[in-house]
Amino acid sequence: MIFLNLWSLFAWYLRPFIKWFFRKTTRLCELQRICYGDKAGAARTCNVEKSLMLSRTQSVKEVISFLDATVSEHRFIPENFRDILEPSISIIVRVKKINAKLHTPFITSFRRCLEQIWSYRSLMNDVENLRRTQFDSNNPLHEEKLLKLWSLLVPDTPLENRITKQWQYIGFQGDDPKTDFRGMGMLGLENLLFFATEYPEVSSHVLSHSCHPLYGYTFAIVGINITSMAYYLLKDGSAKTYMFNTKQYLPTINLFHRFYCYLFFEFDKMWIESKPENIMEFSIIFKKFENAVRNELADPASVFRINIEIDTI
């Protein structure tokens, strides 16, 4: 602990000299070295973020708090990117004395990093808001979503009643799912709904596993526990690897849903492979699964996608 404190004190005083040394020898500032040297994706974006957050330059600090403010005002959305990012980038280019004409590849890649970093922060807000919204059976919109979940997962059997034991088929605890969302609120329902809507084959494949006579589990309840896991991975920053390595999407609520679907699919695979004796092994296998996911996310080079193989269990 003392060693760590000493080291951080040392690093704090040494950093400017190291930066100055590299700047003189490479004629590039730290941000340029990152954008040119690190692989696009999590490696680059996380290092840019680290460099910006460590900056002691007043104008850089101001740019950061300006961008943070756009996030808390819910303005950091693609339509506004031009208006928000142009001035921010030009301030940094000026402060860092970068020749913008000479370094257009830097500008492009730096802009992408900014988009990713502050979209992620914006996403954390959106996810928190959804989580705080309790499922309310007096809200017709919430009810509609719940019923839609049923019809997507079990298209051939209509619900006999709003309150019915049938809900247990898709893994809710009792005859009314409303008390099952608890601390995850609407986020839990939205996650499940996205899974059933966007990945109909995968979700019905996973649902069929959950009904397995030997290795069955409670689909919806496990789903809500996976929501909780995805939420914590987002909050502590571990999910950046996943979010920043996805080339075609920025971190938005839909990408969070995709992350959830990936986790659900992978958990199901691990569960079935573990051949658990009964549902009471859930806590152990779930912990094992979380550790495996965290290990994978710790490597910035990890790329994630759902690989469906035909299996016969």
Partner: protein, 189 residues
């Protein structure tokens, strides 16, 4: 020199105490229907954040230090599908804690049937029972005395029992229940 003697004695006393009283470990079993508040209670006992609770698939276990005891608290999922597995956790239980959602009038009968079945089990014979009458903050919650009536607690003859009104989400009444637990620890055979 004189001033050092009492200190040294004090240290010896502590060492002696450590040797002759190894920390007493107790096994507490938390049961009740789903959505009764078992996991929230568990988190409250461990002083953890209670706002992010999810339904329990399987079980949770936490160790809590309280009044010089190490309490190993087992929180088992309450949904009907899981209830047949409750029995696997009965062995060596020191205290049974049963949690009731007092605002769930519809399932009061179901919860009292489950409790009656637990109390008949051989493995839980004589184990002291603490009932937490939870969710007292809700307007529709029945008072603890009424819940005790419905559960038929006054008919229990073969063990000590207590009912404690509580609000697991903010901790009201939880401490009082645990104090009763620590006073009623059965002497191990």
């Amino acid at each position: 020199m004189r001033t050092h003697v009492p200190n040294f004695q004090g240290l010896l006393n502590i060492l002696r105490k450590l040797r002759s009283h190894p920390e007493k470990e107790l096994r507490l079993l938390l049961l009740g229907l789903d959505n009764a508040g078992k996991t929230t209670l568990l988190k409250q006992l461990a002083s953890e954040d209670v706002t992010h609770v999810t339904p329990t698939a399987g079980f949770n276990i936490k160790s809590v230090l309280s009044n010089g005891f190490k309490l190993n608290v087992w929180d088992i999922g309450g949904q009907r599908k899981i209830r047949p597995y409750w029995r696997n956790y009965f062995e060596n239980t020191d205290i049974l804690i049963y949690v009731v959602d007092c605002s769930d009038h519809q399932r009061l009968e179901e919860t009292s049937l489950e409790l009656a079945e637990l109390l008949q089990d051989d493995k839980l014979r004589g184990v002291p029972l603490l009932v937490y009458a939870n969710k007292q903050d809700l307007a529709t919650a029945l008072p603890a005395s009424e819940v005790a009536q419905d559960l038929g607690l006054h008919l229990i003859r073969d063990r000590t029992w207590q009912i404690q009104a509580c609000v697991a989400t903010d901790g009201t009444g939880v401490k009082e229940g645990m104090e009763w637990v620590c006073k009623n620890i059965p002497v191990k055979k």
